[in-house]
Amino acid sequence: MTLAAADPGLVTAESEPEVRPRRRGYASYVGLKVLGSIGSLFFMLVVNFFLFRVLPGDPAHTLGRGRLSTEAQVEAFNKTYGLQQPVWQQFLTFLHNTFTGQLGISVQYRLPVSQLIADRMVPTILLVGTSTILATVIGVYLGIRGAWGRGSRFDKVTTGTSLTLYAMPEWWLGLLLIAALGVGFWIFPGVFPTGGLHSPDVDPNSLKGVLDTTWHLVLPVTTLTLAYLADYSLIMRSSLLDELGEDYLQTARAKGLRDIQVRNRHAVRNALLPTTTIVALNIGFVVSGAITVETVFSIPGLGLLATDAIQVPDFWVLQGTFLVASAGVIFANLIANLLYGLLDPRVRT
């Protein structure tokens, strides 16, 4: 291996114009993404403001539906909410109120919306968090196995099942599970509770209470996991299938790597990139799932809070939950983007 410098062609070789790596670095990538999220957040606030104040035309009518009858009442209402001010000033007030946590008072509960939201946050996080983790792990695994053995029976069965689950409203699946496993059917008795987060006679802070809550969460978590899982496995499968045609997999195979090494070292790692992006784009559907499944299983979370507010209608609650949901999605999006940056060196360096 001492032969290198002998050839003159080799010496000139390095003279070729070099691509200097642009050192943007991960820090500035993070900065850029955070800035983007702040932009999204601002846009969301604008949408929110217009949805509730400008779109209905007559906020006094919408926001205080049915409760303001006389001219004087309407005027008082308008004054309280600063609705006679110019729009930009109203917007500033709205911003100020939002950031100081003044989200209005619930018509239904006669409590500040911010307090309601704080109370209802935990069950939602518990439900959505558990389901998302389970669905991601199982879904990604199924997607990988399906794509790698595409056309196999395993692939056909999992893809068929995923497509069917994907086509299914998740709350309908929840209803079926309640009917089958909660209520019981034919000769089978119901095993699981049909709704709620804990039994009335159990102290939720005791060990028994924790087990009781876990028992209550089995059906809703199963429902949401199946719903999310369908999406994740389909995304992972198609990302990996896209990867299969890539030339560097052929390189890896030519190097004499075992099939499983080609898959795990090269294909999966790269397929996780588009998967992360698409999952980030689809975070909104995590929220929808939470709303409907909480409703069906009567879990006292943010979703149930929002759907209960529909019939009243309790606009301040709707606005508050909408704000929280949007902020949650933007935050989750940011996390996904940062994760993407960690996975992809083209972004990092």
């Binding site: 050839d7 390095e14 560097y248 052929q250 030519a254 004499g256 790269n270 992809d344 083209r346 360096t349």
Partner: protein
């Protein structure tokens, strides 16, 4: 180790099974590469040369049916057990893939990608030794050893291609298959990369199969050249003779085509040759080249010509060789076709 034939392909057929039916990509090709010999395979894109190359390491697509024999060092790659095949891959023969742009994994460092075959085939090797080896390989292809820590996107096209070459030499193979190693590069860089590649191959006495659409490149570097058209060998012989004095009209058209800088279309369509190569699912009867051939005549239509010997080490598949051109009044084939 006793024979001088490193690679011997005998009557290789490759057919792709697709939803549209069976597509014959390679139709009965014989090819031999000896130790220390550089053999060029020339032809337009779609003539089956890359498919042929993929069979050397049994890397053909899953829907490809292969028949015939591909003997590497006397053993048939197509029928050997998986364990033996994995041992042949990269240690026996390695490939410099076309378009290094996509042949390197974007999320792994260059060093790790060069190290990978070494670690796979010599698992016990100390990490320090592997690193030394990578650095010396990078030096040999004229790259800064510090480049090992770079990612592919931080390198230029020429640098990436040289990384591919370093990678191909990582396990000291006996045969290197270079599949259009310079397609995506501009002419200056092309010359440099080809210089590096052929220099290293010559110094080590390796065998090389070099695939290109550019006959002028092959004419400079190779000992022998095989010209392929529509999945078959149409001419075969010593490089300088094929380039300077082609027998087959298709070789003549290829050698007349000089690559023009900055015009990508000129690289794929030889100048002076009208039309496109035939589609594999719609091959013309008789000589497959006849519809585009300036010398086509009635005799070309009944049957596909067989490869016939013309002097020592030369063969071509054309019935019109040595026949006078009495069909001048037909004019150019472009008019015939219209």
């Amino acid at each position: 180790m006793s024979t001088s034939e490193l690679l011997e392909m005998r009557d290789v057929h490759v057919t792709y099974r697709t939803s549209e039916g069976e597509l014959p990509a390679v139709r009965g090709v014989d090819l031999t590469v000896r130790r220390g010999q550089i053999v060029g395979v020339a032809g337009e894109s779609g003539c089956g040369k890359s498919t042929l190359a993929s069979t050397v390491l049994r890397l053909q697509a899953a829907n490809a049916m292969v028949s015939g024999e591909v003997l590497f060092d006397g053993q048939d790659v197509l029928t050997m057990r998986w364990g033996d095949l994995r041992a042949v891959r990269w240690v026996g023969a390695s490939i410099v893939f076309q378009g290094a742009l996509h042949s390197l994994n974007p999320v792994h460092r260059i060093g790790a990608q060069i190290a990978e075959p070494i670690q796979v085939h010599a698992p016990g090797l100390a990490e320090g030794r592997v690193r030394e080896r990578i650095e010396s390989l990078l030096e040999q292809v004229g790259l800064d050893p510090a480049r090992a820590r770079s990612y592919p996107h931080q390198l230029s096209g020429g640098q990436k291609q040289r990384v591919m070459i370093a990678m191909a030499l990582a396990c000291d193979p006996q045969l290197v298959v270079a599949d259009e190693p310079t397609t995506a590069l501009d002419v200056m860089v092309q010359a440099q990369v080809l210089g590096v590649l052929s220099g290293l191959v010559r110094e080590r006495g390796l065998g090389m199969m070099m695939i290109s659409h550019d006959l002028s490149v092959l004419g400079d570097l190779c000992d022998r050249i095989t010209v392929m058209y529509a999945g078959r060998v149409v001419e075969e012989g010593p490089a300088e003779q094929i380039f300077a004095d082609p027998l087959h009209p298709y070789s003549a058209a290829l050698s007349a085509a000089f690559p023009r800088v900055g015009d990508p279309s000129a690289r794929f369509a030889p100048s002076g040759l009208p039309g496109d190569p035939p589609l594999p699912w719609d091959l013309p009867g008789g000589c497959t080249f006849a519809p585009r051939c300036p010398r086509a005549a009635e005799v070309c239509l009944p049957a596909e010509p067989v490869l016939t010997s013309y002097g020592e080490g030369r063969a071509a598949a054309c019935v019109r060789i040595g026949q006078p051109d009495e069909t001048q009044h037909h004019g150019s084939p472009g008019e015939v076709a219209s």
